[in-house]
Symmetry: C2
Subunit: 281 residues, 2 copies
């Protein structure tokens, strides 16, 4: 039987900690790394981050937009990075924020979550502007294949608040509604581990503003970008997420990547130690 | 000076009518067309639709998910379809529904809206779950290059309603908020034509449910899927969109594509005639 994504993630946390390393080959970072702003540069960048992560951390998260910039050549580069990371035993979250309806959203799920597909990852990020139910086909595919999905709930940028704080007919904020809908879905699947569907919560928000507490995330993994460069400190993890701190995949990109190709191992070691201390604290 | 997307769209409407033909090479349609379920099949399908559209309609809309399924090879196929369509003088809307923040969302804009890029289209669809302001980088890039962006506002699927009908602090529904925010942005750009930023409105919704009227769309193009197979009839266009009927890009996919490779020209001619009659009526 296929192991559920939530169980795989819990094993990864126990073995390698909760750090997730972004793979963000944007133009400025490629220049800093002495790499060309091309599909080949993005590939070399991604493979170097994967090399540095192996044996130090458990999870990487390629930001697909930075590969898509280079068209099909960028996707070919991404395929190499995904394969290298998965072959090395890293969990890979494709940060794609896809969302659509019907056969279209199913096709996105197929692209990223099908065993053996060229863009196979272990999990993907998704957007539910069209309702959590619009992603059902993706969730079903994920569950069947032991894959995960992280749905955007509350993000850190101020211009998101008008939408994410809007009040649904059930009295919840839109963001808390996504979390509640995910919890309901995970409850229905009666998994012994964390559910296969999680949420994305920006680490710089205040949960209370959205009507959320740590307990809201009891059954689900939480992907939390915003640590490091964007302002949240690893040591704040328990304060930010309370009882759910142990479910949080702590995502850092620029604060690690800006160490450059020579400094990245040390930057990962430092981040892993800090996240570990915060989780034990 | 670069011609604004809104002006290009108005010229296209005047010359070729308001029909937009979807290019949706999903597995079932490829089988119906006698094509393999592969990147090559998707390419042949797309090129055949482009051939059929040239001289009959003005706009095509590839659903990118059906190319992404095939990984980098699918993107290479899409690049051929995009280039063929644009070379033939069709306007191309990349239906990608991308959304993100900061340098990531800028990278998506760069991928689809940069003159000379491998995935260059004339416009793209986008999602503003993170707020309309999160897409500013994409809008600026679009305006500078004479490109367009269509932001999801109100969609036809029932599970979308909890989110899209949620009430913002300004009293608007989330969907009407997107429309109002787009109108404000277009007003600021003082274009003589339709704005370069438009919205996506499912043709099977009731505008009134969301607090919208035809006048809400006075300054913006509206991409309206849901005609044909999904239930809206072309003849209902004035009834559905009122005073904005002349701004609507009437999107049909399955109802045209299901005619097969031998019947597609006739299906396009029929749809163009029906849309034209509805707009004149």
């Amino acid at each position: 039987m296929t192991e559920a994504f939530g169980a795989v993630l819990e094993r990864t946390f126990a073995a390698s900690g909760q750090l997730c390393i972004g793979i963000d080959p944007h133009a400025a970072l490629l220049a800093d790394w002495g790499l060309p702003d091309s599909a080949g540069g993005a590939r070399d960048f991604g493979l170097r981050v994967v090399d540095a992560a192996v044996g130090r951390a458990g999870v990487v998260k390629p930001q697909v937009a930075f590969f898509e910039r280079h068209g099909s050549a960028g996707y070919a580069a991404l395929e190499e990075v995904l394969a290298a990371a998965r072959t090395a035993g890293l969990l890979v979250i494709a940060d794609v924020k896809r969302g659509d309806l019907g056969t279209s959203v199913d096709a996105y799920g197929e692209a990223w979550l099908t065993p053996g597909s060229p863009l196979e990852a272990d999990a993907m990020t998704a957007v539910a502007y069209q309702g959590l139910g619009s992603l059902d086909g993706v969730f079903d595919r994920a569950t069947a294949a032991g894959k995960g999905v992280f749905v955007l709930a509350a993000t850190s940028n101020p211009e998101a608040r008008a939408t994410q704080l809007a009040t649904r007919a059930d009295g919840r904020s839109v963001a808390a509604g996504v979390v509640a809908d995910v919890a309901e879905r995970n409850a229905a699947s009666r998994a012994a581990s964390l559910g296969s569907v999680g949420v994305v919560i920006g680490a710089t928000i205040s949960l209370a503003d959205f009507g959320l507490t740590g307990d809201s995330f009891a059954t689900m993994p939480v992907l939390a970008p915003g640590f490091g460069h964007q302002g949240a400190r690893f040591s704040q993890l328990p304060e930010l997420f309370g009882s759910a701190a142990h479910n949080v995949l702590v995502s850092a990109s620029r604060s690690i990547l800006s160490a450059g190709p020579l400094g990245i191992e040390a930057a990962i070691d430092d981040a892993v130690a800090e996240v570990g201390a915060a989780c034990r604290g």
